[in-house]
């Protein structure tokens, strides 16, 4: 057996498991979303067929929810990347013990339980869309900061030194050398933050008001509070489509 075939054969079980798992999950969810809501003990009405749950995604209520979801995704991506970049810039200049302390600070949101942290945030930020978006961004900051720290530390220190030797001040070095060289990591953080923010659940739940429902909180409400599992399934697939769209956009950018 040639080596590429051997590699594919070794990969196949994992690919099959992941592919079938994802495809089967999506197919079952899609199937549920095309049924009427169950009136008895079942999650949906067997033998029924309806597009009503999909049609409802276009109604005013859902348009607002999808808008809030996209806005939360954008805010989480932008804020977490911006804050992560600043933290990473500081950390990248440090070494030894001081770096350890800054890393502790960066990781703080993930060192305590998420729920405990969100209860704390409730006291610090106003409830509403801003609060919920900030909460999601705050949870994402450690990932962004660590990715960016690795990227910044990977920049050859001779490059900023060379720029300074050529007469560039610190801001010019940042804008014309460090920033462009860290752009691939910035793009990755934006992509991750966007996907993370799209799935925002805890932030809107703890810090959002009634107007700040996202697709994730709406799914929860439809399924567990209202028992409308088929509608929750349609919401879930809409969220999955948004997420995959984000990855496809990121992938196209990377290829370009």
């Amino acid at each position: 057996m040639t080596s590429p075939w051997r590699a594919w054969a070794l990969l196949m079980p994992a690919l099959l498991l992941a592919g079938l798992g994802t495809a089967a999950g999506a197919a079952l969810t899609l199937r549920m979303s095309l049924h009427a809501t169950g009136t008895g003990a079942g999650l949906y009405e067997p033998g029924s067929f309806t597009l009503a749950h999909w049609m409802s995604l276009a109604d005013e209520h859902h348009r607002a929810i999808i808008g809030a979801t996209v806005a939360t995704g954008l805010a989480a991506a932008l804020v977490s990347t911006a804050v992560g970049y600043l933290l990473a810039l500081v950390a990248a200049t440090l070494g030894g013990g001081r770096l350890g302390w800054v890393l502790m600070l960066i990781l703080a949101p993930r060192l305590s339980g998420v729920l405990a942290a969100l209860f704390g945030l409730q006291r610090l930020v106003p409830r509403g869309w801003v609060g919920s978006a900030l909460a999601e961004a705050w949870l994402m900051v450690p990932y962004a900061a660590l990715i960016l720290l690795v990227a910044l530390r990977g920049i050859d220190p001779a490059l900023p030194a060379a720029a300074r030797g050529l007469g560039a001040g610190p801001w010019t070095v940042l804008a014309r050398v460090i920033w462009p060289l860290s752009l691939p990591a910035v793009a990755l953080c934006l992509q991750l933050g966007w996907v993370w923010g799209l799935g925002a659940f805890l932030g809107p739940l703890f810090l959002g008001g009634p107007e700040q429902a996202t697709l994730a909180t709406e799914m929860h409400r439809e399924a567990f509070d209202l028992g409308r599992w088929p509608r929750a399934a349609a919401d879930g697939l809409a969220l999955a489509a948004l997420t995959m769209g984000a990855w496809a956009w990121g992938g196209r950018r990377e290829a370009a």
């Binding site: 490059l159 300074r164 030797g165 050529l166 007469g167 560039a168 001040g169 014309r176």
Partner: protein, 341 residues
Amino acid sequence: MNSSTAGNAPCCAPGEAIGLEAVSFHHGAVAAVDGVSLSVPAGAFVSILGPSGCGKTTLLKLVGGYLPPGSGRVLIAGRDATTQPPEARRLGMVFQNLALFPHLSAWENVAFGLRATRVPGAEIAPRVNDMLARVGISAAEAGRRPDRLSGGQQQRVALARALVTRPFALLLDEPMSSLDNHLRQQMRDLIVKLHREAGIATLMVTHDPAEALAASDTIVVMNRGRVVELGDPQTLYNSPKTVFTARLLGPANIVEGPTIGLPEGTRALVRPADIALNPATSAFTRRVVVESVEFQGGHWAATLADGGFRWLAHGPGFPPPGTEVTIGAARVHPLAGEDSP
């Protein structure tokens, strides 16, 4: 004076381009540079030569402002620059790994310093094009990013980038260490040519004595953070004061004085190329046995056994191993005795 004028007025500081006054720098408890004083006159080509870890690159970074001296003063064009950041010193530096910006084309790399110092836009293109032409980079090559250029082309772009801002002095940190012999020779010639054309003071760090001997007006020999001795290449090569310098600059026979008729307690340097077989006139003669002979391209090298001592000789040819011959040397250089600081 605004940065634009300061950064790009033609450099013609009379007198001293770079001065170091008792400059020291410590890595922890280790003195990387220990009380070094040095003067690089305007227009001079000075090489700092020494083994790895002797402090020569640290010294260059102190001059460039990339490290703060623990004590002493750094003078650039006669002004105290000890606390100035690199961007205020007006020095062009070529780093050992070249440090070309990978996201910019060769052209943009060269233009970087002009843009950073706010040279008027209309001046930038002519100056960049002129400098790239002087280092032999074509327009097509100028449009490529560094990773699409050969090692020699990258080296030329780095030189152009350092010179285009018309700095007070050029700092070269082992600029040819990554090149093969052929390219090294070409680059050395280019550096010397540009140095002569621009008349710019140049301070080059190298561990290659051939580079230092060929290019420099003055060689500064360093070891363990200190200057061992300095002088012009011929004087240092032929009449070094220390065994360290004698060995660093090239193959050397370091012989005890009495072996060649000098007083007890002295030592002397005899260069292998100065040794002659059966000389008509010589400062000394020794009967030796040819131990080995090998061809080294431009000459033959022989090891000659003289009791427990081994002479190294270079010449156009030697008798086969086992032959007994008489050797002498036209030039013998007594050494001061101290090896190095």
